[in-house]
């Protein structure tokens, strides 16, 4: 089939692009390495700024792309460049010849245990943003369930803006996620004191500032400007957090019942491998390299290879979806120009 399009990655970017391509009359092939669509969003509970249920978003998208060829638990084994396109071999044995490939490979959540000083995987009461969303979804986490939680801390920028963690970039969504989760925790534990430890609050998106004000006014979240330097544990199994309250210019420590690490967004390591098969290099920020970062962020220097979503850097869901729509059009235009 001459108009075959392969979409690598079944997250928001891949799904939305597939949806648009279906509307344009194509029948894209979508491969997803995990057993479900929706990527990281499928693991989330509610989404800022309107607390939309994440499952609903994934469900809506999934329904609208059921006409596409979707391979779950499938990876790209290799890609060969041909004269007019690409020969893509999947791990399930299917072999496709296509003209356009969309890398919607998304991101990896930073492995919080790499910041050993924060004690993830060492201390009982330390969890990540993802663990907390999992608890929101299932109510099952021994760090919270059945525990008397009186003080909760959120550490911003874990694995973001940190050369020591190998990622200098801002992950863009953690500030607002931390505030969202802080408020959600406050709802569930009204008597608890909630602290956010931040370096800068980067609340740039639609209605984010409203969230911030709400967190201050309604939830009474305490914001402490200082990066957490290290965490230790006391005899009761609580965690003791050390930071500097830079606004008062004094080192500070606080005992918490639960510490949530806002693990940041780093490039998907497997995506790097797939991208190298089609000669898409890595940009200096560690994400896939676009043709340029102003007008051609969804295009690459390799003919017929397109990018969308967090493969090129941290993005919110609306930004990702917008890019996915744009990339569908770009692919369409490309295919028309090839005829």
């Amino acid at each position: 089939m001459k108009d075959n399009i392969v979409i690598v990655g079944g997250g928001i970017a891949g799904m939305e692009a597939a949806r648009q391509l279906l509307l344009l009359g194509y029948k894209p092939i979508l491969v997803e390495k995990s057993d479900h669509l929706g990527g990281h969003v499928a693991d989330w509970h509610c989404l800022f700024p309107d607390m939309t249920p994440a499952q609903q978003v994934v469900k809506d998208l999934t329904e609208q792309i059921k006409d596409a060829n979707i391979f779950l638990e499938t990876e790209v084994s290799f890609i060969n460049k041909m004269k007019m396109g690409y020969n893509v071999m999947f791990s399930n044995g299917v072999n496709v010849i296509c003209k356009a490939i969309l890398l919607a490979t998304g991101f990896d959540l930073f492995d919080a245990s790499k910041k050993e000083e924060y004690g993830y995987g060492i201390y009982d009461q330390v969890m990540t943003n993802k663990d907390l969303e999992h608890w929101f979804n299932t109510g099952d986490d021994k760090r919270i369930t059945g525990k008397d939680i009186k003080k909760i801390g959120f550490v911003h920028c874990v694995g973001s803006r940190d050369v020591k963690a190998g990622n200098q970039q801002c992950s863009k969504v953690c500030c607002i996620t931390a505030i969202k989760q802080a408020m959600e925790m406050k709802e569930r534990f009204p008597d608890a004191e909630v602290y956010c430890f931040y370096m800068d609050l980067r609340l740039f998106g639609k209605k984010y500032e409203d969230f911030y004000i709400k967190a201050q006014m309604e939830s009474g979240v305490h914001f402490i400007r200082g990066r957490v330097s290290e965490v230790s544990e006391n005899l009761q199994g609580q965690v003791i957090v050390k930071t500097e309250d830079t606004l008062s210019g004094k080192p500070a420590k606080i005992t918490l019942d639960l510490l949530v690490l806002m693990a940041g967004i780093v490039c998907n390591r497997e995506a790097v491998q797939t991208a190298s098969m089609v000669q898409v290099p890595i940009d200096s920020d560690g994400f896939l390299k676009s043709r340029d970062n102003i007008l051609n962020i969804i295009e690459t220097d390799s003919k017929g290879v397109f990018l969308a979503g967090t493969a090129t850097g941290a993005k919110t869901i609306p930004e990702t979806a917008a890019e996915a729509r744009a990339v569908a059009l770009a692919i369409h235009n490309y295919l028309v120009s090839q005829q």
């Binding site: 990066r227 957490v228 330097s229 050390k242 930071t243 210019g249 080192p251």
Partner: protein
């Protein structure tokens, strides 16, 4: 001159027009990374000496940037040079050498 029993109170305003940046500029010459600091406070929070001597790399750097050399010197005297701040700095600043450099350039003019 008369004695009035009171004198003009010094201003608490930092007059940035009159700040002497020479020490900071000299520091940046030998430690360009000094400019990288985003004042996150990791160094001060982790500082071994901090709880005993009040040392804080972040404050030292801020003081130097604001021309408050005497304050910075007071803090620097309490550094134990253990290097923990260098370990945690998210911007990868070699704070330990920065401290040594500062100690060296203090009073360089008098020589």
């Amino acid at each position: 001159m008369m004695e009035f029993g009171f004198s003009i109170s010094p201003s608490s305003t930092m007059n940035l027009d009159k700040v002497d940046f020479s020490l900071y500029e000299r520091l940046c010459e030998i430690e360009p990374d000094a400019k990288k600091c985003m004042a996150c406070g990791s160094c001060s929070a982790t500082c071994t000496a901090g709880q005993w001597t009040g040392m804080s790399v972040r404050k030292v750097l801020l003081d130097i940037q604001r021309g408050k050399e005497a304050e910075a010197a007071r803090l620097l005297k309490g550094c134990m040079l253990c290097g923990k701040c260098t370990m945690v700095c998210p911007r990868g600043i070699n704070t330990r050498h920065l401290i040594l450099s500062l100690c060296r350039i203090y009073g360089e003019d008098e020589k």
